[in-house]
Symmetry: C2
Subunit: 226 residues, 2 copies
């Protein structure tokens, strides 16, 4: 949560961050049409930097723009959300494998400590899906960077996670799921600690598969309306 050299950031970066978090948190609803001048007054910017930020967000798939017609927040259908998890499955599987091969012993210890704190978090804030989601994000974040695969981490952290988190904020996790997930996390870390890339990949894929099935069930139950 450190924020170094916030000063050296350019206005376009600032705009980009603001918009990205606004979209992810749901302050800008999916499908919503957003006008440039309105955004300018809202975030205290001028249109130059804003347009640059809009370009970046479009290329990341968080916005859709039609020439002269304005910009809309992307709206992901239920099917597309499922597809996102299919992509995560293979990419994070690879990340887990490479993390098992390349993470330092210290990083692995850190990761284990992180899981301990997650366990405490789940206990005290049981049912509070928000904290669980943040913990989950933290775990996957570490694996992605631990893979030492620059592009892979960039695609996961810069593209996929933002789109997934867009719905995490609306999607309450099932009752028993946090504990389940934590157990799966632990086994993945064990495999990484044993430098067993095959197993780490297998477990991670199964972990994300379980998450996907959980979401599919919710959608069928009609809990999630997209």
């Amino acid at each position: 949560m450190a924020e170094p050299q916030l000063q050296t950031q350019t206005r376009a970066d600032e705009a980009f961050d603001c918009l990205q978090t606004a979209i992810v948190k749901g302050d800008l609803a999916p499908g919503e049409k957003i006008g440039e001048v309105e955004l300018c007054s809202r975030f205290n910017l001028t249109r130059g930097p804003l347009r640059e930020a809009l370009g970046r967000l479009e290329s990341r798939g968080l916005l859709v723009r039609r020439p002269h017609a304005g910009v809309n927040v992307v709206s992901v259908s239920a099917e597309e959300l499922i597809e996102l998890y299919r992509i995560r499955e293979v990419m994070e599987g690879l990340a887990a494998r490479q993390a098992a091969e390349r993470m330092t012993d210290e990083e692995i210890r850190d990761l284990q400590a992180t899981l301990d704190s997650h366990e405490a978090l789940i206990e005290e804030a049981q049912g509070q899906a928000y904290y669980q989601a943040e913990g989950d994000y933290d775990f996957h974040h570490r694996i992605a960077t631990g893979s030492r695969n620059t592009k892979l981490a960039q695609m996961l952290l810069g593209d996929l996670y933002y789109m997934v988190r867009m719905y995490r904020y609306r999607l309450s996790t099932s009752a028993g799921r946090p504990h389940m997930a934590l157990g799966e996390h632990r086994r993945i870390v064990e495999a990484i600690a044993q430098r067993d890339g095959d197993l780490a990949e297998f477990l991670m894929k199964r972990h994300i598969n379980a998450a996907r099935q959980n979401i599919e069930k919710k959608i069928q139950e009609g809990v999630l309306t997209i």
Copy 2:
């Protein structure tokens, strides 16, 4: 090679396309520092749309920008190129699996016909790595779109392929490789035609693995200096 509604494109789109192809073709060398005004005169643009395009390219990982210091074309190290192929392996494996499940019969016939034309192309232009590379790109392009997984296709076609092609243009393929690759392509399409998703994924992963090993060998031979 059709160019529909070129007119309705905005100047920023134009700038984006120009720069992207210039980077991929090598007209802008990796690592090269490029000034904004120079680019403007080169592509007949003004700095507004240009900066928007630069933002998009940066977010796609084709450029790196430091505030107030200018923009450089990304330079991918040999290790990173290999990592790119590791990502391709899992993502295109998934694409092949989903293509086997979802492509229409007509698309599959088209794909088979494409391979026939590739065979002819290889015969007449043997050794001409360029045409082989284009044919290969065409094949993988069809599989990606055939997966009906919007985000997957977007990530493959919009991100990974451009970075890979950056080096394809410089990297001459080995003597026997085109024929080998074509054979592998044929077997993948066979699996897709039989709707065998497991096999299609397996074969595609092995295909890209072979391409990666081919490149690794070249790098060790010192043919490719990045």
